[in-house]
């Protein structure tokens, strides 16, 4: 077979993956999966975390070599040995996270992405060509602006433009809208959709948002646990049907109904200010009150100070000024205060923020209580208590682990988060702070976490829920606050919140 054959002539082309099987050791990541992306179509690839979506596209892009199976590009079988081969064939990938150099301008980023950057770049000439190129594109970006100065939406447009500039005509988008506001997502996907309709482009999009699938995709392929679970035209499917195909017969935890009225103020922030790692002000003198039996949701595009706010509440960052009070007492995130006020924290990326990867599941579950009975007898640890307690909680929170002694880093993301839930919500909770608790998790885990959060609220906990997922906030919170550039710019009762207004404030208008 000829490798790196000339790319097909201009216009969209399709890609088929036939009988793909991918093994990692004993583990079958892909089992005889088939994917047919028609030329000039917008194709969605759905599946839960760990279903094999990323593995499949990485096989197509040449990052992995499938154990068995063939890739057919534009009707011709191709052996894609590495990403370079894939690029030469006109295949491009846009990642969930940005790959642009923040300190350089958009134009510099575009030119430097080419394989054939000359030793001395003739900028006037390049700029002219870039202007001409942009003229043919559906969306514009400020060429002279530094990437660090433009918004997330514009960055994502740049990423896509970069692929088009490099003459890639089959784009794989890996959850491209996770960092965008709903309006930005609609704009970017809408424009891509137009290019697809004009026959210039074929798109394969990995996503978990049914709304985007229904609005923009022609076809959908659904994977479940490494197997093909279903495929078909979007017009003939409903979100419910797709969800059922994705999760199979698994039972989801039922979320308890919202009961009871908010009580007294439990968590109060007064003029809280915090810096980010570079010393810039990330949280700008914010004040907020969360009452018992209430979920306050903080919406916002990532990077607007939410992380630093949560870090201050979690004791991972010092506040610059301002005050936090819990049940009226000043709070400085000490172990004693966390215990007295029955505080629980569900941070984002639990493995990075709340667990020690090399320690066992049982140890990790005991982090809050290891220094008192029954885990400790005076100075000494009681290993049996660790294991017994872990067994109970593993069963109750349906944590899938081989043994309580397995290192927690060996668990899947959902199960790590379940272990943290077991630790944080296993006892009484009076204040709960959760940050993107469901990010990247499967349906079963999401349903379970949402149910637990709602149950904690109903038992009278004050809940501060910081999330980038607006749907999650609308579903769970009693009150919604929008955070933009480190400030709270909008607040409304969730039942009365207007989605367009919320979206506008998220974008800073």
């Amino acid at each position: 077979m000829i490798i790196g054959e000339t790319p097909p002539p201009s216009g969209a082309f399709g890609v088929d993956a036939v009988a793909m099987t991918m093994r990692f050791g004993d583990f079958l990541a892909l089992d005889n999966v088939e994917l047919k992306v028609r030329p000039g179509s917008f194709h969605a690839l759905l599946g839960e975390n760990g279903a094999g979506k990323s593995t499949l596209v990485k096989c197509i892009m040449g990052y992995y070599h499938a154990t068995e199976g063939d890739i057919i590009v534009g009707g011709r079988e191709q052996a894609i040995a590495n990403p370079k081969n894939a690029h030469a064939l006109g295949l491009g990938m846009v990642y969930q996270h940005f790959t642009l150099v923040p300190a350089m301008t958009v134009a510099e980023n575009l030119v430097l992405a080419r394989d054939d950057v000359p030793a001395v770049v003739n900028w006037p000439k390049e700029m002219k060509e870039l202007e001409a190129f942009l003229g043919r594109m559906p969306f514009r970006v400020p060429l002279g602006a530094k990437v660090s100065d433009i918004s997330a939406g514009e960055r994502q447009k740049c990423e896509i433009l970069k692929q088009l500039y490099l003459k890639r005509r089959f784009l794989i988008l890996d959850e491209p809208t996770s960092v965008l506001t709903p309006a930005e997502a609609d704009e970017v996907l809408g424009m891509l959709r137009e290019m697809v309709v004009r026959g210039e482009l074929t798109i394969l999009m990995i996503t978990h948002k049914f709304r985007e699938v229904m609005a923009f995709a022609d076809d959908v392929t659904i994977l479940r646990r490494g197997k093909l679970a279903g495929a078909g035209k979007v017009s003939e499917l409903t979100p419910d049907a797709m969800a059922r195909t994705m999760i199979g017969a698994e039972e989801l935890t039922v979320q308890p109904p919202r009961t009871g009225k908010p009580g007294q103020a439990r968590l109060e922030l007064q003029k809280l200010r915090a810096l980010d790692d570079t010393g810039a002000v990330a949280v700008h003198d914010v004040s907020l009150t969360v009452r018992a039996g209430e979920i306050v949701g903080i919406a916002g595009v990532s990077g607007n100070g939410q992380r630093q706010l949560v870090e201050v509440l979690a004791g991972q960052r010092e506040a610059e000024s301002g005050e936090i009070r819990v049940a009226g007492d000043p709070y400085r995130a000490s172990r004693e205060e966390m215990r007295r006020h029955k505080m629980s924290l569900l941070p984002e990326e639990p493995l990075k923020n709340a667990c020690v990867g090399g320690m066992s599941v049982a140890d990790n579950i005991a982090f809050r209580d290891f220094d008192r009975a029954p885990f400790a007898r005076g100075w000494w640890l009681n290993p049996r208590a660790f294991r017994d307690d872990a067994r109970t909680r593993i069963a109750r929170y349906k944590i899938k682990t081989r043994t309580p002694d397995t290192p927690i880093s060996a668990l899947s993301g959902g199960n790590v988060q379940r272990a943290v839930l077991a630790r944080e919500l296993g006892g009484d909770v009076e204040v709960l702070i959760a940050a993107n608790p469901c990010f990247g998790l499967d349906f079963a885990a999401v349903a379970q976490i949402h149910a637990e959060i709602m149950a904690a609220r109903n038992r009278g906990a004050a809940v501060l829920l910081v999330s980038e997922d607006l749907d999650e906030l609308l579903e769970l919170s009693d009150r919604l606050v929008v955070m933009f550039h480190g400030e709270f710019v909008y607040e409304a009762r969730t039942s009365e919140a207007d989605l367009t207004v919320v979206g506008r404030h998220m974008a800073g208008h």
């Binding site: 583990f27 760990g50 172990r335 004693e336 899938k400 682990t401």
Partner: protein, 370 residues
Amino acid sequence: MTTEAADSTDAVGTVAPAADPGFLQRHGGTIEYVLIPGAALVGALAVFGIFVAMFGKNPLDLYFYMYYGAFGTWFSWQNTLTRAAPLILTALCTALPAQLGMVIIGGEGALLIGALSATSAALALQGLPPLVVQIAMVCAGAIGGGLWIMLSGGLRQYRGVNETISSLLLVYIALAILNHLVEGLMRDPASLNKPSTREIGAANMIGSIPGTDVHWGLAFGLIAAIASYILIYHTVFGFAARVAGGNIRAAKIVGLGVDKLILTVCFLAGGAAGLAGMVEVAAVQGRTNANLAAGYGFTGILVAFLARQNPLAIIPVAILLGGISASGGLLQRRLGLPDASVLVLQGIIFVFVLASDALYGRIGFLKGKS
């Protein structure tokens, strides 16, 4: 990459409960910890053999004499164990902070300050019963060394100074203080060529373990290593230290006082090295002078790394390294190699051990599954 990781870890956690893995797979981790440092040691010995062959000596002779000089006779065993004693203690100075994710390489400085403190205590308490003086020396040595390394920990927590650099630089400050005192304030006027402090007195020396020529420092080392192991793996304090060392963000989110943990561990670590200094004074030198800067603190770093920072593994590794240094004299006499050749070997071992770090988790037949 995150999704990929989730993919593969799913295999372990949920999707495919694998068939019973073989012995190699189940104990792969443990075997690795023995096999890789072992292989690094063998590789270093092989390279040292080539080095020796360039001098026209037979490497096989070299290996024989090294074995003979280190472990061949009861005499060489005693020599080896005597040298291992301070190494165990100085290795703890690196291994204990390593549990908290710190790289402290200033054991030599804590050793010198410990020796100086112990000597001062002994000289100040002349005339009291020997047991009292000895206990005071132990306390003074441990406290002096402990405060010295605690300084590094404090600089790191409160001033953001890298602890590796500060602990190394503190070695030179310690050496300067020692030289200053033995050449000035504490100088014994009778010491002419080699400025030293006065003798602590024969009665106050801690002597040898009965039936051997090995001094009691070995017992100090063994007790300290075993106590460190128990502290780290069986106590509440050790658990907190492991949490903070494994992931500082996780430690903060459960409200652990990280500053206090770090200062305490640094104190204990420096205390161990200070004890090594006290032992060198009270069992070997009898006084403090520049002889104490014999590099035990630096060899201790090598021991700690070779032992993968495990306090129990430090014991055999310290004996091995003690043996290598004990064989230096024999190599000089029988093969005509310079005495410092064993330092070359130590250096080669260190390079191999650091390079072999990249091999963990990559040895095919030991892997459970990807």
